[in-house]
């Protein structure tokens, strides 16, 4: 029997929603992970383990792990340090497992890996050794390595995104990294297209195709057909080029979803007080607005970068959480919506897990 779960990260801990194949009926467990602030939950595809990453203001950063779908948890941060001469790590913003390793993106921006299921960690120094690092400046949310995208088949290749710095890629297992921001406008820079300084909010790979990417940036929605080496603005048709969350269809490389927000000077909120998810099915050439089932009046709501997720079923289920604690779901690829939960803490991240 299919078990469909939603994994939700909040400043008050992790919350797990247990559902079935209908994706309309849910039971809630939480707060989990000792109520620690949890920025990201993900699933290790190799083991089925649930990983939860965040940091406690008292006890520091840690990655939590459950091998039984969220009943029992352990946590470790052994090795999650830049050393006694380095900056202190405030928290972990992303945890992603691939090819037998687990990766953690932290604040201040950097990358760590574990090769023993999260028990111990080592710093992937090549990223912070990039020659651009002296110029790295934090964005409004901090200097954060917030997105990790593994290559689907080659464990030596991956992409990461750092807020207010840009997208980087490695092809040698993290030893060296290349900035891949050509064509993306760097908001806040006197130079429109510097090598780094682009405030990428979210980076997604299109349907397992390692040459095709989309990004939601401070300055717009972009697409790439060359593994991120160059980018083309596809914001036309959206009510705002600004936003945080983005998701890609698991099988259709031309389909994806964004949730536009007003510009920072206008509050980073749903445009016109009407919450909507926008969908493209032609690689961003055009966008369709979907607000059926979402609040359309007086909805001054934000959706954060990690809080939009899709499942792999057919039709694809789409789920997102708001920074005011509402969780919405769609079982028809984002066309219509229903409320999954209304009274959660601010939602930082949403992920799906389907267990057959």
């Amino acid at each position: 029997m299919t078990r469909h779960m939603l994994l939700v990260g909040t400043p008050k801990g992790a919350f797990l929603f247990d559902g079935d194949a209908s994706r309309r009926s849910w039971s809630l467990r939480g707060p989990l992970c000792e109520g620690w602030p949890i920025h990201d939950l993900s699933v290790d595809p190799a083991t089925g383990a649930i990983l939860a990453a965040g940091g406690s203001p008292w006890y520091g950063p840690a990655v939590f792990r459950s091998d039984d779908l969220g009943s029992a948890w352990s946590h470790s941060s052994e090795g999650l340090t830049y050393g006694d001469d380095g900056p202190k790590i405030a928290t972990i913003w992303n945890v992603t497992a691939a090819h037998g390793a687990i990766w953690a993106g932290v604040e201040p921006a950097g990358l760590f890996r574990s090769d023993d299921d999260g028990a111990t960690w080592s710093h992937v120094a090549g990223l912070r050794d990039h020659p651009s690092r002296p110029g790295w400046q934090p964005g409004a949310g901090g200097l954060i390595c917030h997105t990790i995208v593994p290559h689907p088949t080659d464990p030596t290749r991956m992409w990461v995104a750092i807020s207010a710095v840009g997208t980087f890629a490695t092809e040698d297992d993290g030893a060296t990294w290349e900035a891949r921001n050509r064509g993306v406008v760097a908001a806040g820079s006197p130079e429109p297209h510097p090598e780094t300084g682009q405030c990428v909010h979210k980076l997604v790979m299109a349907a397992g195709q390692p040459d095709r990417f989309y990004q939601q940036n401070h300055s717009g929605v972009y697409r790439s057909a060359d593994a991120g080496r160059s980018w083309e603005d596809v914001s036309a048709g959206l009510p705002s080029e600004f936003g945080f969350a983005m998701a890609a269809h698991p099988r259709d490389a031309a389909t994806g979803w964004v949730i536009p927000m007003t510009h920072p000077e206008e509050g980073r909120l749903a445009p016109d007080g009407a919450l909507a998810v926008w969908r493209t099915s032609d690689r961003g050439d055009s966008w369709e607005r979907h607000g059926d089932g979402l609040p359309q009046e007086n909805a001054f709501i934000g959706v954060l970068r990690e809080a939009l997720a899709v499942d792999r079923l057919d039709p694809v289920g789409v789920f997102f959480g708001t920074s005011t604690g509402q969780l919405y779901g769609s079982t028809d690829e984002g066309r219509t919506w229903n409320v999954v939960a209304a009274n959660l803490p601010p939602i930082w991240s949403v992920e799906t897990l389907v267990v057959d």
Binding site: P57, W58, Y59, G60, H75, S77, E78, D84, P87, K88
Partner: protein, 60 residues
Amino acid sequence: MAEAIDRLDEVAPGIRNRLVDAGPSIRRHINVFVDGVPASLATPVGPESVLHVIPAVSGG
């Protein structure tokens, strides 16, 4: 105090990371006391000392 925390970590592996940050230093929102007096990692601890490790209210 540093050595006492290292010994504690042998009994409860991982706890040092919960109390000590890079530097090394006691984490910002953790307070430690030796015999009732605020302490740091360098504070001497004797065989009869009483140690308190208390999360500060500033942490939450």
